[in-house]
Amino acid sequence: MSKKRMVNATINGREQTLLCDNRMSLLDALRDAAGLTGTKEGCLTGDCGACSVVMNGKLVDSCLVMAAEAEGAAITTVEGLAIGSDLHALQQAFLAEAALQCGVCTPGFLVASKALLDRNPDPTEHEIRYWLAGNLCRCTGYQKILEAVQSAAAQLRDNPR
């Protein structure tokens, strides 16, 4: 049995061929094969959302996706949010609103929040809380994250990126 395979995927707009162990999750492939360690491992059971990425337009927990399933996929990770040195409105808002403390859940929250705002540019507070209930933060109590998402949403409505 070949233990490894090539996985072709477009990650943050860049076509890549990753050599992946057959047992690798997409999370492992991103971190260990592509060197994109911004996507974090918190639980490996899909409960914490620290490994959130967008795959073919859908928000997924990359720990629950096998690397092999990403063949041909378009994937966006936290490293793909900024364009050059221009931070995404969400990244700027997370900084301005102090929406992070330890920061380890932050990549997952940013990716999940972007997926929300891409679908719903003007979410209510409840819609934000509902959408982000799959991302756990143990430091902030969530309030400043909520405020950052609201602030970024308002900014993007005025000035879509």
Binding site: G35, G42, L81, L87, F94, L95, N135, R138, C139, G141
Partner: protein, 760 residues
Amino acid sequence: MEQQGSSGKGKYKVIGTRPIRHDGEDKVTGRAQYGADIMLQDQLYGHLLRSPHSNAKILKIDTSKAEAMPGVRAVVTSQDFPQGEISAGKKYARDRILASDKALFKGHPIAAVAAEDRWTAEEAAKAIEVSYEVLPAVMDVMEAIKEDAPLVQEGNTTSTLGGQDAKPSNIVNHTQHKRGDVDDGFAKAELVIEREFDTKAVHQGYIEPQNATALARSDGQITVWCSSQAPFWVRAELSALLELPLSRFKVVPMEIGGGFGGKINSYLEAPAVLLSKKTGQPVKLVMSRADVFEATGQASAVHSKIKIGVNKDGAIVAGQAWLAYESGALPSNWGMQGSMCVFAPYKMEHVLIDAYDVLTNTSKVAAYRAPSSPQAMFGTESVMDEIAQELGMDPIELRLKNAVQEGDLRADGPKFPRIGFKETLEAIKNSDHYKSPPPSAPNQARGLAAGFWFNAGMQSSATVGINMDGTASVVTGSVDIGGSRASMSIMAAEALGLTAEEVRPSVADTDSIGHTDVTGGSRTTAVTGTAVYEAAQDAIGQMKKRVAKLWDISEEQVVFEDGAFKSTANGHDPMTVKELGPKLGMTGGPVLGSATVAPKSVGAGFGVHVVDIEVDPETGKVAILRYTAAQDVGTAIHLSYVEGQMQGGVVQGIGWALNEEYIRGEDGAMQNTGFLDYRVPTMLDVPNIETIIVEVPAPGQPYGVRGVGEVPIIPPLGALHNAIYKAIGVRLRALPMSPPSVVKAIHEARKIAEPAAART
């Protein structure tokens, strides 16, 4: 959001503002390197074999099959530590990392494997054959305290009131504080209430699992990269366990994904070093989430009895507490800490506090945010609420009547310096929330409770370097767990007359700064902040000499005020640090200020919280309608992160009160070892938390900082308990007040109420 202005406004230029944190961009772009992100050349992957039993003698460990597997590079056990005679204390420390003669709890590490990939390491760990003699285990504090309980540590005897009992027991310590005569006090009191309380073990629940990567080089130098709250303590422990000098180790603090006290103890660092020594290659170990729950340090399950006697005017006459804290399978002193907190906010003439640390077959208990205070004060704040109700007093008035202030003695002895408990009570009393009518629909109610934490001192080091353009760099040994780079920069900027952005902060490894104790105990901003302030003063002192040289006046004629050097002689315009920077080279070279501090005492913190809730009588779910937290933080350095600490602490307290617990099966094993079943609060479970920052500067601290992180986790337990009582008419004296227990309580209350109603 309601918020009091910083009392420092006007007094300070940078303190009390909200600059963007210096490490922020790295953390929103994914560039920040946390422990598990490190990847070294030729790195191996490690895995631990863990005990499936809660208590078992280890008869034999056969690693031969594992070692023979392709791709496996090394297997280590406790035998790979230096052997020979060791003290009991050192054996406990070593056994916590890798079991020797006994597996003391489920998940206890037995052996460690290093292999070429993680799957091989996992399979090899399974191939290690261990013969166990399974022994009866004891998981519960009240069972373990019984005379005939199985002994967790055969060699343990009780340290009690300065002596040592002869008889083996599961009780590690008995701490007692005594003042006056409680029997006499209770006899004189006009109302006495005594109740028993239970809290379950809970976990810090940081999102990043423990990790460690080690490289032991052939020249004997060892480097460890890890996510620890206390890199210098990791170094000390490695030095002790491996019997090598401190200078052989460099511990590199990586970014840390939460800790809350749970990443003070080291777990994986020593096994990683042993594996690297054996292979000559770097080895990385990362815990699974289940390992984190089962085999790192939970916070103690506690059984307590609280008795308080008052006069009809509400004045407390006497207080008695009996506290039994789960210690886990290895000795600790959490009960002692609880004994210092349980009655701390209140004046009482007669006091008797007995606290016990009790060994159980669970992982060694670790610190969790204001460690030991939430469990102790839960009972106190419930009894205080009952007293207020019996006397028909407002719960704030009852607390104001008894609140400690400067000069009062804490229940366990020490005299309070200037503190802000009364100011914090007044802040809640005057809040929009408290002044608004309590929610009055069926099953709705309001609850209130207070919290106390003494805040930690210990040792810190810092340097402040003045750059050649007059900007500055600050180096400390305190790991940045939630924005401390920003707060260190703010304090240095305030001292030097710079902006926060003109100061570049960094966290140094153990080679690059003096000894610095843990990031924890709410000590970082207060104590490492003091070191930063002192280092800045050292730099200012050096710069005064340079200014004196430039102006050709004596050093004594140079003062530094309002961010500039000034001459008390005539004829010189003030000169800022920015203006002086370029002149340093020609006046004697670089300026580097340094300081080390070890303050004897720090300012204690108090919080008061008020919460409005609604209980769903069908499901038992408690919805939080409104929450306000007030806290005396001394001086708020970075307003946003002070609010964030308060909000985060409250939400952890809400989780502790309403949902979180170690659910144990018949075999004692934890049944809910994942986030889904352990159930920390999600964004949907909590409302916004309104914060009121009270600032009563701490005496003896240059900027009056008290520390903020610990206090806010304490009051939610009592506040929610008191609110639920008012909503459903039943006091739930066991945590968590989860939906099943709330429903059960409502049903039991109805059963009692219905026959009574039938009789009338």
